[in-house]
């Protein structure tokens, strides 16, 4: 699976002898050209759009190419809370998903090794959410946790929740949705590294009188670092740009809108393409910087 590839640490450089041949160019060219046309140039047109200026006397949604850098100042002043909120939500969801997934991935990858059937059955259940529409899953949670639902009414009955409090529409609900939806992206790469973990290292640790907590901290965690890095990136990146969970028709409310919601509204509803483009460029730049710093510090540069 792609997740396994994300977590592998072998680089391409040290494999079988390679030939130089014009065939390589023929094989590469169509796909690379495709990505240049439909991935790279769109980013360039996004950058160009982000500096556009409205045509004077033009209709809504009519812009001309310019170098209006004030667009960036304007979107940051107007949407700073949304930008900060997106990264805070994504970070919280990533940490929660990691805490949720690590024990599960450890059980499937290490404890359940003796029973391959249990292992593969549990893995199927981890990826099962992928088989049902992402939007329907989120809507299901909205209804399961609505004000009239059994869970919320019982929480209110035992006074664990204030009688006039809501769950859906709050920031907590959006973080909950993001966490739930990206758990498989966290669990799978964790599983692929933990599955290859040589348990003799753990035994060696306890033979040397290390406390189990210390063995976990000094042996298990460092050895599963590639999985942790891959899982956190696979969760954080899509979570930061998501706009389904925070949408008002799903789990969000007016005070929990994320940068994705603003980009969507500006592009598809308000037709303010330069603002949407500037926000997209900001989002992408911040994520790339975070990814580079993080990958450097975690020491798994082979990921790239």
């Amino acid at each position: 699976m792609a997740f396994a590839a994300f977590a592998t640490t072998t680089s391409d450089a040290d494999q079988a002898p390679r030939r130089k041949s014009p065939v390589a160019l023929l094989l590469l060219l169509p796909g690379i050209l495709y990505l240049v046309l439909f991935f790279l140039t769109p980013l360039v047109s996004l950058l160009l759009t982000s500096f556009q200026t409205p045509i004077e006397g033009g209709d809504i949604g009519q812009y001309a190419y310019a170098f209006r850098w004030e667009n960036y100042v304007e979107v940051v002043t107007a949407y700073l809370p949304h930008i900060l909120r997106s990264f805070a939500f994504a970070l919280t969801a990533t940490v929660l998903a990691l805490i949720f997934s690590y024990p599960l991935a450890y059980f499937i990858g290490v404890t359940a090794r003796r029973w391959p059937l249990v292992q593969s059955l549990m893995l199927v259940l981890v990826i099962a959410p992928f088989f049902i529409s992402f939007l329907l899953r989120t809507l299901a949670w909205k209804q399961i946790l609505s004000d009239e639902s059994f869970i919320i009414t019982s929480l209110k009955a035992v006074a664990l929740m204030a009688p006039d409090a809501h769950f859906t529409g709050t920031s907590a609900a959006v973080i909950f949705g993001l966490t739930y939806n990206f758990i498989p992206f966290m669990t799978l790469p964790l599983y692929t590294t933990l599955e290859r973990l040589d348990t003799r290292y753990l035994e060696a640790g306890s033979d040397l009188y290390a406390h189990p907590v210390e063995v976990f901290r000094k042996v298990t965690i460092p050895l599963s670092m590639p999985g942790i890095v891959a899982g956190t990136l696979l969760t954080f990146i899509p979570a930061a740009g998501d706009y389904v969970n925070a949408s008002r028709d799903f789990l969000g409310g007016p005070d929990s809108q994320m940068i994705g919601n603003v980009i969507e509204a500006n592009f598809l509803v308000l037709q303010n393409y330069p603002a949407a483009a500037a926000l997209s460029i900001i989002l992408m730049t911040v994520i790339l910087v975070i990814v580079m710093v993080y990958v450097k510090r975690a020491g798994t540069e082979e990921l790239l």
Partner: protein, 267 residues
């Protein structure tokens, strides 16, 4: 006492965690049998009606969206699998210049948030003046599937023993024959896995689709649009049916793989 508690903690937690993951799936499945009217929020009694008349609601809007998703998924899968497999073979088998630039170009689409990919393509289609329809969705889906195909197929190409192809050449097989009779069959499991992944990614994509679909409705987009006024139970029927089908495919693949492993172990 303390030891047995510690031993049970992890398995019990894992089972509960999996149950938690299943909650919205079970909910969606149960509510596909709801005898609901317009919106499918409160339980109104059990019925098979929605399963038997999936296409009858809103002049077949659910089925129309579903068939659009199937067509888009199929075309994008074929295109992305072809392009991605070619790249994977080239990366593992050949030396070429701009190697690291190529790797970066393949990695970046996976590291870019979907909303940026969607807005970027939409901005490009807008500036070139391409109207948004089925074709623009297919172009977008093919783009984000290619990288996933490359990483999936690459592993398979790398594990392929070059001696097998050499043997084919030694026996005077033409390059075309060697590819068709040796290389391709050996790569097939990897290519199929990549195709399934592409189809799943395309079928469930909403964020990029929403920016590049114009008036065309895919299944996820249909759900997004209808979310405000309530989703008919028929949408749950379609999603549940897809879920069961995918589960059957995955489980039978697992079972046949483990059966094969057992056979090989016996030999």
């Amino acid at each position: 006492m303390k030891i047995s508690l510690g031993r049970w903690l992890l398995p019990v937690y894992s089972v509960l965690a999996l149950v938690f993951l299943m909650v919205p799936i079970v909910y969606t499945f149960i509510f596909s049998f709801n005898d609901s009217q317009k919106s499918n929020i409160t339980w109104r009694g059990f019925t098979f009606d929605k399963w038997l008349n999936v296409c009858n609601v809103q002049n077949g809007a659910v089925c129309q969206a579903f068939s659009n998703s199937l067509i888009i998924g199929a075309v994008a899968t074929v295109a992305a699998t072809t392009l991605g497999t070619m790249i994977a073979i080239a990366i593992v088998r050949y030396r070429f210049r701009f190697r690291s630039a190529t790797s970066l170009l393949l990695f970046l689409p996976m590291a870019t948030p979907e909303v940026v990919l969607g807005a970027g393509l939409a901005a490009q289609f807008l500036s070139v003046g391409v109207p948004k329809d089925m074709l623009t969705i297919i172009l977008a889906h093919t783009m984000f599937c290619i990288s996933f195909v490359v990483v999936t197929v690459k592993a398979r190409v790398a594990s392929l023993d070059p001696a097998l192809e050499e043997a084919g050449r030694d026996l005077y097989g033409s390059p075309g024959q060697v590819f068709l009779r040796i290389t391709f069959p050996l790569l097939l499991p990897g290519i199929l896995a990549a195709a399934l992944l592409s189809f799943a990614l395309s079928f469930d994509d909403f964020i990029i689709t929403n920016f590049n679909s114009g008036a065309v409705t895919t299944f996820p987009k249909y759900i997004y649009i209808s979310a405000a006024r309530g989703i008919p139970a028929e949408a749950n029927v379609v999603a549940s049916a897809v879920f069961i089908l995918a589960l059957v495919i995955v489980v039978s693949a697992q079972v046949s793989a483990s059966a094969r492993a057992k056979r090989l172990a016996k030999d």
